[in-house]
Homo-oligomer: 498 residues x 2
């Protein structure tokens, strides 16, 4: 297999030495679950395997090197009739799963947004899986219900968001944003909950505004809600890829004159392409004058709001209606954990609450099922609680600050080198750039090829975007394991080809 | 604390003995993540803690005994400034989290649906958290993308569903059903994706049909999609709580005559109140004649389709359009993992696909982000793969068969006792019943009180529903740890109060 040839992986050696441990049989009993003795033994082996993996992840390729269908073709077509020894299953994790893993934990994963889990977060998921809570009603998990309230409030304070915000945990920013838009739609008081939108000739065309640079999740939410692509107005950005507030104002006025009904603006702090920052403070008065719900997508950059010197980038959020941030992106928490901070949980409840007889209780408590499409909810707050306590506010601030310092370092190298140029202003810890050697005619093709070669090598993973029609390479710094030497390494890889 | 007084918990003693281990300090380093040595040591302690917990869960109360706000009031109002020793965090799990946990793993958890995780499933979540995959694109996780395809196909075969179904994993049945309805709406070819539903006078009133006994998630999906409560027609059920197919046919005809456009029927195999089974085979021709999408909600009972003698209850599914089943309910897989089996993944893709520049690749592969609202997806298939391999098909069949045997046993005791009566026919492993002692006037109040007392005792957890206006107790058998003695215990608790 390619992986084995290219990488002399210490992890493989380690596991080979463990063969004897794995070969202790661990078969399922005739009834019930695994014995406690087997659980301890196999559990310790898996913990050790993960420790080896974490120590050696840097020696693994970043992007999986397998071809499409490699894993599929190596797996049986049918489930086994009888139970297997757990040792065999673990061997297959090593042999079949690991090569097909793209190592998001690799410190040179710089594609998309570099996200990373941490040991504390993994332990949180482990215990959450063991408790297996379904926090629909308070009584089905007081722990999950109340810890969520406490820990989202901790983070709210860390992010310098005011106490008017209540945090609710969802799985992903796509779902958080969907809920914000659903609540905003409910706030229109058009009886959409009761009578829907279809076949009602009295209803107006509704309008949502966002920038050309906003995340696809905004459009997906609009589609799912039945508003249609046409209802989403994409406002042009300035040369820094920030929403042009004047154009937003004009678009709203034009739409109103045409009889449309604007109801929501989605602004972004930290767009996906360039981490650009929409001018929230300029957008706020436009929303207030027009009574529009302002949702701020800070899925990526929200974590940076815990760093005092970065809080200025979030100015205006104190007058927004909702803000989404994803601790699973840049707060060392395993995927998935997205938080919607919302001022109008009453509207969320109005949009979603529905209590069948079998879920009725006499308790006057918060039942989290009332605030979303999902009925059961995982005990996600546990891992975030672990992460915040283990690192402390200062530990988290220092790590995010360091990522931004490393991004600035790379940006400085780029700016000082005539073979390279920044393709967008530096924001947070995302660098957009391209090679521009004088002797190359087709710079787009050159850069794309350069990126693809580095990605294919497994040494680092970069991704791309298009800015003003030009191909730009994106390098995101976000791994808990990233150090200056990793940025130097990528800089070396890039320059080796230019 | 109440819990400590009521239960002499072996787990507490065990942990007390471990105090010395926990007191080895495990603080976060100045940069980067926990050391591998700390990870091993703390990880082993957590594994041991979970082993103790699992062995002793029967000695813990089922429903958490804490009062509302107990946990909240015992936690600091602000995040710690500096990182804490992980040993301190684990002590708080024992002291603060455990008492606030409702023990879904307790073999006498019979409320709602008795779901349960298994050791194999916990290990799957542990490794998934460590790999921290975001399977948006194939390349961002070939392992998750392809294992999902393989393992959902294994389960499809086990459930005796035909090869026309493709399985896609979502988090919950609420989200699976939402996607089925979104795809069905897209199949109307009314350009709802492009132009939405609002303000389009040419659009008809759309109609979705389900039974009076269907799950609230159907209605929630209809709300979110902007169809409105009015568009959901709830068809009456017969005396067995099964949808009346004749009434479905009449409702569709009436609606069509009124100019409405029916487009979807949601039938249920295993309703939440009574596990009743809608007559899929009678519903199928009605859907076919009217070109309606038939979605089958088998979130609970779908797991039982792997038992040969129960496959008859799923007759007709071979002509449905989609079927949802939740391995996290009755297949020993930790929450969350719901599978939507769908014949029309093209429509799902048409409803949801949206590829921004930064996610464009040249690979001709399946990118799972195209099939849903969520962009990133957890590596959920891993835990299901572990569960199916560890128990094997036969091990899983035997466990589900045994649960149904235990439910039948209780139903037999109830039928043989003049103080008790079944409130609904027995289906799968859910028993609906009530006490009917001759000397009691208000049977509803009597039964409600009886249930509340047992629940408050922490000895067992039962839930309720209303059937034909009468209060009925529900007892669901589904824990991997449940044995005949646990059913005997509840029967004893019930009879002690009658």
């Amino acid at each position: 297999m390619i992986l084995m040839r290219q990488f002399q992986r210490p992890i493989t050696d380690t596991n080979m030495q463990k063969e004897s441990e794995f070969s202790d049989k661990a078969f399922a009993p005739a009834s019930g679950d695994m014995s406690a003795a087997d659980f301890r033994r196999v559990g310790h082996q898996i913990i050790d395997w993960i420790a080896d993996y974490s120590e050696n992840v840097e020696n693994l390729p970043v992007l999986s090197q397998v071809e499409p269908n490699w894993l599929k073709n190596n797996l049986p077509k049918h489930a086994p009739e009888n139970g297997e020894d757990f040792a065999e299953i673990l061997k297959d994790v090593d042999k079949l799963i690991l090569p097909a893993i793209t190592n998001w934990n690799h410190p040179n994963f710089h594609g998309l947004f570099s996200t990373s889990t941490s040991a504390a977060g993994i332990f949180g998921e482990l215990l959450a899986a063991a408790f297996d809570q379904k926090a629909m009603l308070w009584r089905t998990s007081p722990a999950s219900t109340e810890l969520e309230e406490v820990v989202t409030d901790w983070l709210r304070q860390m992010m310098n968001l005011d106490a008017g915000y209540t945090g609710i945990i969802y799985d992903t920013a796509s779902v958080s944003t969907l809920h914000a838009l659903a609540a905003a739609r409910e706030g229109l008081d058009l009886k959409i909950r009761e009578t829907g939108m279809s076949g009602r000739s009295e209803l107006p065309l509704l309008r949502v505004y966002t920038s050309e640079q906003s995340h696809s999740s905004v459009e997906k939410a609009v589609l799912l809600l039945g508003l249609g692509q046409k209802s989403l107005v994409k406002i042009a950005v300035n040369e820094r890829f920030e929403m042009d507030a004047n154009k937003l104002r004009e678009a709203i006025e034009t739409d109103k004159a045409a009889g449309f009904v604007p109801f929501c603006v989605v602004a972004t702090v930290g767009t996906t392409s360039t981490a650009s920052i929409d001018p929230i403070s300029e957008i706020v008065p436009i929303c207030e004058e027009n009574a529009l719900w302002l949702h701020v997508d800070a899925a990526y950059a929200g974590s940076a709001a815990i760093v005092p010197e970065f809080q200025k980038f979030f100015a205006g959020c104190e007058r927004a209606d909702s803000v989404v941030t994803n601790p699973h992106k840049w707060l060392f928490t395993p995927f998935d954990l997205s938080i919607l901070y919302c001022r109008h949980t009453d509207l969320l409840k109005r949009a979603f609450a529905l209590v069948p007889e079998y879920l009725k209780t006499n308790e006057t408590v918060t039942n989290q099922m009332d605030y979303g499409i999902q009925l059961g909810r995982r005990f996600r707050s546990l891992k975030l609680w672990f992460v915040i306590r283990y690192f402390g506010q200062n530990g988290l601030i220092e790590r995010i600050r360091e990522h931004c310092r490393l991004a600035k370092l790379l940006a400085d190298w780029i700016e000082a080198d005539e073979n390279w140029e920044l393709a967008a202003p530096l924001n947070f810890a995302l660098v957009c750039f391209r090679a521009c050697p004088k002797n190359v005619e087709n710079l787009d093709a050159f850069n794309e090829n350069l990126m693809n070669e580095i990605n294919a090598s497994g040494e680092a993973y970069l991704s791309h975007t298009k800015l003003d029609g030009k191909f730009a390479i994106r390098l995101s710094v976000g791994s808990i394991r990233v150090e200056e030497r990793h940025i130097e390494k990528v800089w070396g890889l890039l320059n080796a080809k230019v």
